[in-house]
Symmetry: C2
Subunit: 154 residues, 2 copies
């Protein structure tokens, strides 16, 4: 695997680092990084479903929960989230509930994604907040990490 | 508000009790109760978004997380969940990820529900597990509780 290109945004580099650390823990390698409205890092975390034995412990959920706890707010209006994989429907809906301003994700996930695939959570008329969405940022590095993880497991 | 009719399943009675307790804490009154495959209660919890300042702390999410922690499993195959309101898309997707066997919910939620409304999470081709779904169980009591809560807040 090659290093991320120099143009990779810092947020995605941090999220990728968390994805790599997740893989080393035996977790599906997905990482997330949350920034406040001034671009200050709030938290960077990786998937912990296996370690915490928690079906909801996706990287995005952990980032939202830790961010809200850190800021003492139940909503993260103005905050931006970087994640290495297109969020699943659970995470996409949580991102909307948390009022995230901008969502940057790396690899697209046709089988499990909920943003550009499946239920297209943000496009539903009942979705009350839609973040700005930027997909494919750092896609190659994130997808390579996921492919390697699943190849090694077979 | 009248008491639940005698035919109310025990699970929904417990979930309604949790919804009432949530209202007393100033939370949107939604409660959930989780049972194992033998019908033994695992946990009953109410919404804690305000108290925990956590946008993901819906009753269903707390029940799934507490249940998985209690059982030491990352999935709750065979378990049944009772909830007083149609789950939102985040919770519906989490219920699928957790492999819940049967979902019983009380009030329908045309504005925010994700099961029979909005993204119809379980009907998506990318949804990998669909629980059996029973809506409208104890609907009147749950809807009355929600109406009273929002009326008192206006």
């Amino acid at each position: 695997m090659t290093n991320p290109p120099p143009s990779m945004p810092e947020g995605m580099t941090l999220a990728l680092d968390q994805a790599k650390a997740a893989a080393e823990r035996g977790e599906v390698p997905v990482g997330a990084a949350l920034f406040d409205e001034n671009g200050i890092l709030i938290t960077a975390v990786g998937n912990r479903v296996e370690q915490e034995r928690d079906p909801t412990a996706h990287a995005e959920m952990l980032a939202l929960r830790a961010g809200a706890a850190r800021l003492g707010l139940k909503r993260l209006a103005g905050c931006d989230l970087y994640v290495t994989l297109e969020p699943c429907p659970m995470c996409a809906a949580a991102i909307s509930l948390a009022r995230i301003r901008r969502l940057y994700f790396a690899a697209y996930d046709p089988k499990g994604g909920g943003v550009e695939h499946g239920p297209h959570i943000f496009d539903q008329p009942t979705c009350h907040h839609r973040p700005e969405v930027y997909g494919g940022i750092g896609e190659r590095a994130a997808a390579a990490l996921l492919r390697k993880f699943f190849r090694d497991r077979r």
